[in-house]
Symmetry: C2
Subunit: 210 residues, 2 copies
DNA sequence: AATAATTTGTTGCTTTTGCAACAGAAAAAG
DNA sequence: CTTTTTCTGTTGCAAAAGCAACAAATTATT
């Protein structure tokens, strides 16, 4: 199974091959889409970055997923079971392809290349999503803020193949992503520094262990 | 998109159409499979129930997923990124179909009905898995034990279409599933009773709100 | 360049959660 | 049927996390 599905070349080759696919631009903090109603929509972020965010009744914000270039999102990947608000918000200027589907598995009526390829590669696309979700679950099941932070840093570190990296979002957002209190997280970051596990300057982290 | 993929009739119709598919039995507490090595394996639980369990370095046990009849599992659904032990353990006597694949998207070399159908329905199967994972994430992002319990009870309640239901696993296991300390969870269950939110006799729960 | 808005960093206090330990109930094994 | 094992329910205490509030720094906006 090809786990290295190349969204970039897919987009470049087929983006314009179907007139049903719409491209839209969003500026910072705009809502790209919501998962409240049932929309048969698959979205691909072609530039910028965005978050899938949930606001619960207590006013807590959770960053459910973070999207960067060529990530796919939409209700295809998320059968809505909750009564909470689920929004995709642009973190910066974003370009997004919207693909409205009839039946995700079949080609669209126009029989265009875009849909044909997408239908073919969808299982893989979804499997990648599953991998992300599983990593997220692994993080969230860690019992302490310290373990969540270290778990997250390890992930980012192995993704960038480096012990030094910049966080893809602000510390405020990181707390919402790890689902912990921001000030408690800041305290733990300080302790991690004091205990010699990490170095931290702004949002640049260096892992000092292993 | 047909979200009601019927695994039961799929199994009944095609189980014996491919000699590559193996059926094995397991007794309570036996390890059905592990996710340590890369095995090209998709498993379907045809009877009994089992858990995907992770043991971390601190000795904490987490129930990552709970499987009952006709649930599918295996590394297809879980690109292993962790260095922790990931096991599927039988909770009771289980029967499991093992399907070793070459390429999940293509038919097997024998061109049998089983693989043909499975390849066709796989996207749907995976989407169901994604839904489960998202529900799990929603539970885990809740900030307190109380909210995790209520969130979980709501899920089970809506699945059984009843305010009264038996928990699918023991309270010890529930704590490992919600990723919280058992005694703290027991305390919170008692408080939920005292505060009139739930009724509880053994592992039978009744929701008293709404 | 000046002002407004957001994010970071910090702290004291409160609440929640985890840990350890144990007795009784229930379930499994012999 | 008896013994052993696991699970439930409970508690006191310790540790961790959440909350609230604020100043300083950074980043956007006009």
């Amino acid at each position: 199974m090809n786990v290295n599905f190349d969204m970039k070349s897919f987009i470049n080759n087929f983006e314009n091959s179907c007139h049903k696919v719409q491209k839209k631009s969003f500026s910072k903090n705009e809502v790209i889409t919501s998962y409240i109603q049932k929309r048969n929509q698959l979205c691909i972020l072609t530039s910028g970055n965005a978050d899938l965010v949930r606001y619960d009744l207590n006013g807590n914000r959770t960053i459910v997923e973070h999207f960067s270039q060529y990530d796919a999102f939409g209700e295809v990947f998320y059968a809505v079971t909750t009564n909470n608000e689920l929004l995709v918000e642009a973190r910066e200027k974003c370009e997004v392809l919207f693909y409205i589907y009839d039946d995700i598995r079949n080609k669209c009526r126009n029989n265009c290349k875009f849909h044909q390829m997408l239908a073919e590669d969808l299982p893989e696309l979804i499997l990648n999503k599953v991998t992300d979700l599983n990593m997220r679950i692994e993080l969230l099941t860690k019992r302490s803020i310290r373990d969540k932070l270290l778990g997250y840093f390890n992930l980012v570190s192995s993704r960038y193949l480096s012990k030094s990296f910049s966080l893809p979002f602000s510390l405020t957002d990181l707390a919402d992503y790890l689902s912990v209190d921001r000030s408690a997280m800041m305290r733990e970051l300080k302790l991690l520094k004091e205990d010699g596990f990490i170095d931290k300057t702004g949002n640049k982290i260096t892992l000092l262990y292993e």
